[in-house]
Symmetry: C2
Subunit: 335 residues, 2 copies
């Protein structure tokens, strides 16, 4: 096995930096979920993390790991999603100036939240301008550091604390199911889980129509795929990162795809049965388990619920037509 881009010590250092800063998110259980899956399921509630998603862990860790003089010159990120808010929130906590490059058509609520955390937002036209080039130019002009969303050792190490916290709390798991976008979360979690006792199988979940992780694993190299229309807006990146892929090749057992309809069913289940509000990508790992894509009967299963940032209107549109998961514990009598 080649040397991986991060090791368990990097995750442990991230956990030290995040102690008392990130929320130690709760572990949620549901008797109905256990009945429906035939497994013992624990859900790591990262939608209850600061900024409503796991991304805070990696963003904060990356900023906190910078040398003080480097950090003082500020940071730059480009994102229209949770990474933007993560970097903005972490920068405010560390008293660092942050510039976030966001598309002109980013949802107003996300732009305002980012500004609310004290960041400067620079808009661009996503059809005519290259956000990476804008970010790099801004960083260069200001001597600031770009914080990548996933292909970065400290970002990955921060995300890995999701798994180390979960395993510390619940003990050994047979399977850990993790959403995959760029791969930062699953990369960090796989390294953290490998350092724990017990052999936890690591399963990734990506949109059914986006095979970036599955194709990259099959070919042994990063593959750029066309990004389909999907409700899984947190996983619409056209590729996984080079560093995450290296970890996935070594430590991830399988990646499965979930459909938009399966995700809507999982969001509805989380709301009805667990009273939790998940965004589509935040429910993707739960969807894979509920849809039966994994053989988990009789096993101890961890699911990462990775985020909850979705407008109630969008939530309603998605779950309104979703089916209820049949509960084998509910026996209908003839009436």
């Amino acid at each position: 096995m080649n040397t991986l881009p991060i090791d368990a010590d990097a995750v442990a250092r991230a956990a030290d930096r995040l102690a008392g800063v990130a929320h130690r998110t709760p572990v949620l259980r549901s008797a109905t979920l256990d009945r429906c899956t035939g497994a013992q399921v624990v859900c790591k509630a990262e939608h209850l993390q600061r900024i409503g998603a796991f991304k805070f862990r990696g963003g904060y860790n990356a900023l906190a790991a910078l040398p003080v003089d480097v950090r003082a010159r500020g940071v730059v990120a480009f994102s229209s999603g949770n990474h933007a808010q993560a970097v903005a929130a972490a920068a405010r906590m560390l008293d660092v100036s942050a510039t976030i490059v966001m598309p002109d058509d980013a949802p107003a609520v996300k732009v305002e939240a980012t500004i609310g955390y004290g960041a400067e937002v620079v808009r661009y036209d996503r059809y005519t301008q290259d956000r990476a080039a804008i970010g790099a130019r801004l960083a260069d002009e200001r001597g600031a550091t770009v914080i990548p969303p996933y292909d970065d050792p400290e970002v990955m190490a921060g995300q890995g604390t999701v798994a180390s916290e979960l395993l510390d709390e619940v003990g050994a798991l047979d399977v850990l199911v993790v959403p995959v976008g760029g791969g930062g979360l699953i990369g960090g979690c796989a390294v953290a889980a490998a350092a724990h006792r017990g052999a936890t199988r690591i399963i990734g979940v990506e949109p059914a129509g986006r095979r970036a992780a599955r194709d990259a694993l099959a070919r042994g190299e990063v593959v750029e795929v066309p990004v389909p229309q999907t409700v899984l807006d947190g996983q619409q990146t056209p590729n996984v990162g080079t560093r995450p892929l290296a970890v996935m090749q070594a430590l991830v057992d399988e990646v499965v795809g979930v459909s938009d309809a399966e995700v809507a069913v999982a969001m509805r289940f989380a709301a009805l049965r667990m009273k939790q509000f998940l965004e589509p990508s935040g429910a993707s790992a739960l969807a894979a388990v509920l849809a039966g894509h994994l053989d988990v009967a009789g096993q101890r299963v961890g699911i990462v619920c990775s985020g909850g940032n979705v407008a109630p209107e969008r939530f309603a549109a998605l779950v309104g037509t979703a089916a209820d998961v049949a509960d084998p514990g509910v026996h209908h009598r003839d009436r």
Copy 2:
């Protein structure tokens, strides 16, 4: 002060019966909620209780407190809401037969859930038949015991464990804000809080258009009020109970009303900011605090989030047009 219908020992006995049976529900905090209210707020998450509402505590305690030979003859309850599911679920756990009297037009999902817990459901026409008479006749025929939804010492004592658990976990509170329907929850909680060190003010919250609790306190007797149209379906009872009123007269500082619009804003806040799914009545205490009906600035405030049983479609219809709570921590810059 006259002798109250329950004392702190009754709540302590209920806590013993519920230990390892009811969920010890989590206490949720939100930095945004603290900013918006100027207070330090803790939310007791009873929407994460078994059956999705605090009612399980009282229902189970009432059944468990029955002599074994009485319990063996079964129990009867009449309810179209959470009390039905509470009694049905408790009966199954205690291996007792339960008969639930529900109106013909009760939501199918609630009827099926009650049947799913193994209860027999007897339907009636709410426009031509008297459910109390039907329940009493059934109990009489079968030698079964009627479990009232709120005007019962053991039901009240069970609900009181909501407050004793909260105060055990978070220490003294300046104020505890509790939804009021029939008064079983606030009655139990007020007795439990009075037994703790520190003087916790107890504030009740009822629908703005239903003055059953406020009028009863003003007149010193149970008052039957017309029940208005309101989204607060868990608080549409036309009166508070005799026993709860006795406690409220002695121990409750104030009851305030909340409008349907204020409740929708609170449900939206809980979803967007706390990622929690609350039913309207479950959000009524939060609504009273967010709407500014209470002077809580600088205080330690407990809020009982009492239930989360609402269909996603209804949730969507209610919060779709609700306003966002302005967050004083979000400063908008000129762009």
